[in-house]
Symmetry: C2
Subunit: 249 residues, 2 copies
DNA sequence: TATTATTGTAACATAATGTTACAATAATAA
DNA sequence: TTATTATTGTAACATTATGTTACAATAATA
């Protein structure tokens, strides 16, 4: 038995992970003026859910969250934020995992570690959609982007988790400067405004928005201009962290 | 063996609780214009820490937090807010618990459940100081109010936990109306302002503060007046939840 | 009845935000 | 080349919010 095999067998028994505690990651992306979320489809079950994982016995919680988000997006540098721990007993529902396991030829005993009760630490991630390389379909599942308005029915309380993540993101947009993490390095003021409007779910007035963003003093106007349609070309901007301390203004 | 004895023995083995996950409660009070925090003193050790506890296997996380805060304050209706999960591996430090247990005549084995690694869900509680009836000193520990400026050295990362709770409370004061939970039912505008100033750590201008608070439309002016010193008597106000949805303005 | 300290709020100043308007383009069409 | 079109950048004003000063209105005491 190789070390790798032994490691896998250990993990199959749930050893090597903290008990009763899991991570769920709401990975947001922004593409074609739409807010996207990364979802897992469990093969041969018709079940969908959030990417999740467990914490290794000697691993930092935040590191574990980064690992979970990293595995699916291929990114190593990810803006991640804890937003809530879901710990109601009523959310404990082992049936989806049972379904997923049996659909894959396993017949877990009632006391299988995956069927125990887990609290879940909710993280949301903001990633540059254009940089993400989705993990290829695996044996048990595959992952894909879904428009936030077209999220299928999800296992357990994952729909509620996404809702709460979005609430937290809205607050964060108002208070911090997190929005930029959803955009590529260079973007127009229009891009930024559409992002804000999409996340917040309401229209903003263009002159006020531009004035406010520029007043923050964190946008560098890139000399180059865009080349597009039959109209004045917008400037490109870039986020510069200069005068900001720890994200909070 | 009675059921109670059996229950206690079960808990002594850590059965009946979720593994690897604990709760720490930062219970804030406000008295004589000072922000107080409730701390536990572990007898015969000189150690201090936050009130904490574990989650029963069929208990809601929030219920467990309420239970922890309830046990120490005697209150049943407590404003509680989750603010962060502390999950760094580096915070894992079983020595304080070992000290506490040996000081009380126990000699725990290395793999005693209390000496395992725990993530900790941080909650802060806002309570009406005048209503709290501190739990009487028990065999292992006693609890007391401490001025936030005179917090002793605490076990593990509890000092950092308090700091982060305070940060969260400051944000919450700005965005929500949580401050009232620290005051008795009736209070003067001066009381309210001092509370805000103490928590935020900076002076506020009286006319602007009063105007803003009244504009919120959530303060009912109680007809009665105060009777105090050689000057105009202030009005008493009372918080009315009327036009507020879920605390967020 | 005068004195004192503090309250409640008016009144103004300043800053932030909401709104309208328009000149400045960058592509296309004439 | 020049007009047309759509969109951008921002000025200019309106409105609201906040910061600041000032002062009349007390409630106890002298």
């Amino acid at each position: 038995m190789t070390n790798i095999q032994r490691a896998k067998e250990t993990e199959a028994a749930g050893e090597g992970f903290l008990k009763n505690i899991a991570i769920d990651a709401v990975i947001f992306g922004f593409h074609e003026n739409q807010l996207k979320v990364l979802l897992i489809e469990y093969k041969r079950t018709g079940l969908f859910g959030l990417p999740g994982g467990f914490i290794r016995v000697e691993e930092d919680l935040n590191t574990a969250a980064l690992r979970v988000a990293s595995e699916r997006t291929g990114l190593t540098d990810i803006y991640l934020e804890q937003f809530y721990v879901f710990g109601d007993y009523s959310r404990y529902d082992p049936t989806p995992f049972k379904t997923i396991m049996t659909a894959n030829g396993q017949s877990p005993t009632e006391d299988h570690w995956l069927l125990k009760r887990f609290l879940s630490v909710g993280y949301y991630a903001l990633v540059d959609f254009t940089k993400v390389k989705l993990a290829p379909a695996a044996i048990f599942d595959s992952c894909n982007w879904y428009d936030l308005n077209e999220v299928p029915t999800l296992i357990q309380d994952h729909t509620e988790i996404i809702k709460k993540a979005l609430d937290a993101l809205c607050l964060s947009l108002d208070n911090k400067l997190t929005g930029f993490n959803l955009l590529p390095r260079d973007f127009t003021m229009g891009d930024l405004q559409t992002l804000y409007e999409t996340v917040l779910g309401r229209k903003l007035l263009r002159p006020a928005f531009q004035r406010k963003m520029l007043a923050l003093g964190i946008l560098e106007r890139v000399a180059k201009k865009w080349t597009g349609g039959a109209h004045k070309a917008p400037y490109l901007y870039r986020f510069v962290a200069g005068n900001v301390t720890n994200g909070v203004i």
